[in-house]
Symmetry: C2
Subunit: 246 residues, 2 copies
Amino acid sequence: MIPLTDACAAQAKPNVACSHCNLRELCLPVGIPDDELQRLDGMVATRRSVRRGHTLFRHGDPFEAVYAVRTGFFKTRITPEDGRDQVTGFQMAGELLGLDGIGNDHHACDAVALEDSQVCVIPYSQLTQLSREFPGLQRQFHKIMSREIVRDHGVMLLLGSMRAEERLAVFLLNLSQRLKARGFSPSSLVLRMTREEIGTYLGLKLETVSRCFSKFQEDGVLAVRQRQIDVLDPEALQRLVNNAHG
Amino acid sequence: MIPLTDACAAQAKPNVACSHCNLRELCLPVGIPDDELQRLDGMVATRRSVRRGHTLFRHGDPFEAVYAVRTGFFKTRITPEDGRDQVTGFQMAGELLGLDGIGNDHHACDAVALEDSQVCVIPYSQLTQLSREFPGLQRQFHKIMSREIVRDHGVMLLLGSMRAEERLAVFLLNLSQRLKARGFSPSSLVLRMTREEIGTYLGLKLETVSRCFSKFQEDGVLAVRQRQIDVLDPEALQRLVNNAHG
DNA sequence: CGTCTTATTGAAGTGTCTCAAAACGGGTGG
DNA sequence: CCACCCGTTTTGAGACACTTCAATAAGACG
C-alpha cells in the first residue's frame, strides 16, 4: 500500500478530520472502519464558510471539489437564460454538494446558502486518488451519486403525477425524516426556505403552496406559524401520499 | 501494475470486447487510450438479449451489474404501489442502465425493452476493480453518473415549469440530438414509445401529447404519421423552448 | 379478416395560475 | 421605543391549461 504522507500530515488539523467529525455516520465516510478512517483525514482540504444568501458555487464555475455540508442549509437551483428557475434540492448537514460538476468539469447549477453555513471542501483529485486506495470510500461515493439519481427520480414522480397537496406532503415528510436522522424532532420543523423556494422546488406557485399550508392547518394536520411548522398528524400526511388517485 | 489475466483471457471473445465495439466513443470507454482499452476487455462479462416488452431488471432485483445498451431501446420507470407510473428515461445505444441500483444494492426501477434489444453486462465488481486500475475509467464512470444527475435536473425543470408544447419540444430536440450523435438523421425519427409512454415521461396525459403533435403538424413544425416524425422546422422547436414566458 | 392496441378529436370539468390587495413580521433609523 | 419600510405570506376572484370522459379512427398482429 502507498504510504499516506499527505493524509498523515492532515492529522495535524484535527478540526477538519473526518475521523473526529460527529457527522461521519451521515456523510461520505459511512461504512469505513475507524482504523482506515484516520488515514482518510487528508481528504478534506479545508473548510469554507458561506453567508446566508451567498453562493458556494455557481453555474459555469470550474469544477474542482465536492462539498459536504457541515452546518447550515443550502438550496441548489438551475437557472436557464429565459428567467425560469428550478430549485433542484435542499441540502442539510452531512449531504454532498457539487456532484453535478463532474460531468463536464463545470458546475451545472448554483448552490445558495439559506442560512450562514459551513462546508468541508473535498478536492475531487483527492477523492479519486483516495477512492483508488480505499474501496470502502469508492463504494460510498458511488452510493451517494446513485442515491441522488434515485432521489431525483422520486422528484420526477412528484412533479409528473402528484397534485399540490400531495407534493407538499411528500416534501414535509422527507424533511421531517431527514431532521429525525440528525437527532432533531421530526414533528417540529423550522423551514429555512420561503414559500416561493418551496414552490419552485415542487413545481407550484408560491400562492398555491401557501394555500396548501392553510388547508393542512384547517384540517388539523399541521400547525403553521410562518416558517414554524408542527406536524400534528403525520399519518394523515402519509395517507395523502399513499391514497393518491393513481 | 497488476497483471490482467482475466482481461487478457476475455480477448478470446472478441464479440464482447469494448476495444472492437463501434459504440466505444459513446459508451463507458470514452477517453480511454487504445492501448489501455484492450486491457479493459474483461469488463463486459457477457451480452444479454431482451425481447420487446420484457424487462432487463425490475424494482427490487438485487443489484449486480450495470448494463450498456448495444442495440435496441429501453425505458426506465418507477412504479409506486398506488398504481402511479413515472417513466424516468429512455435509453438508446451506448447509454448505461442500472445506476439506480448501486445506492442500496437493489434496483429502484424497472428497465423495459421497447424493442428487441441487446445489452452488455458489466458486473459492478469488475467495474469497481478496473476503476481502481484505470483512472480514465473511474473518471468516465463518474462523469456518466454526474451527467445522469444533470439530465434529471433538466427533466425537473421541464416538469416543474414548462407547458405541454414546450415539454414535447424539449423531448423531440433531445431525441433528435441523440440520434444525430449516433449517425442517424436528426430530422426523421421513428418513435419507439407510445403516446402514453411519452406522456408519462413528460408529466402529461396521452391525449395532451397527441394534441400537441397535431398542433405542431398544423403549424408546419412537424410532419406526423403515427410514430414517424419528421422535423420540418427545428428552429421553431428551439424557439418554443427559449422564448418561454419564464 | 377480425380483434386489440394505439392514436385522434371533441366537449365539459377542475386544479392551478394570474392578478390584486391586504396583513404580517423583521429590521432599520429616527 | 416607536414608526416606517420592505420582503414574505395570506386570501380572494377570475382566467386558462390540462384533464377527464367519450366516441371514433387507424394500425398492428395473429
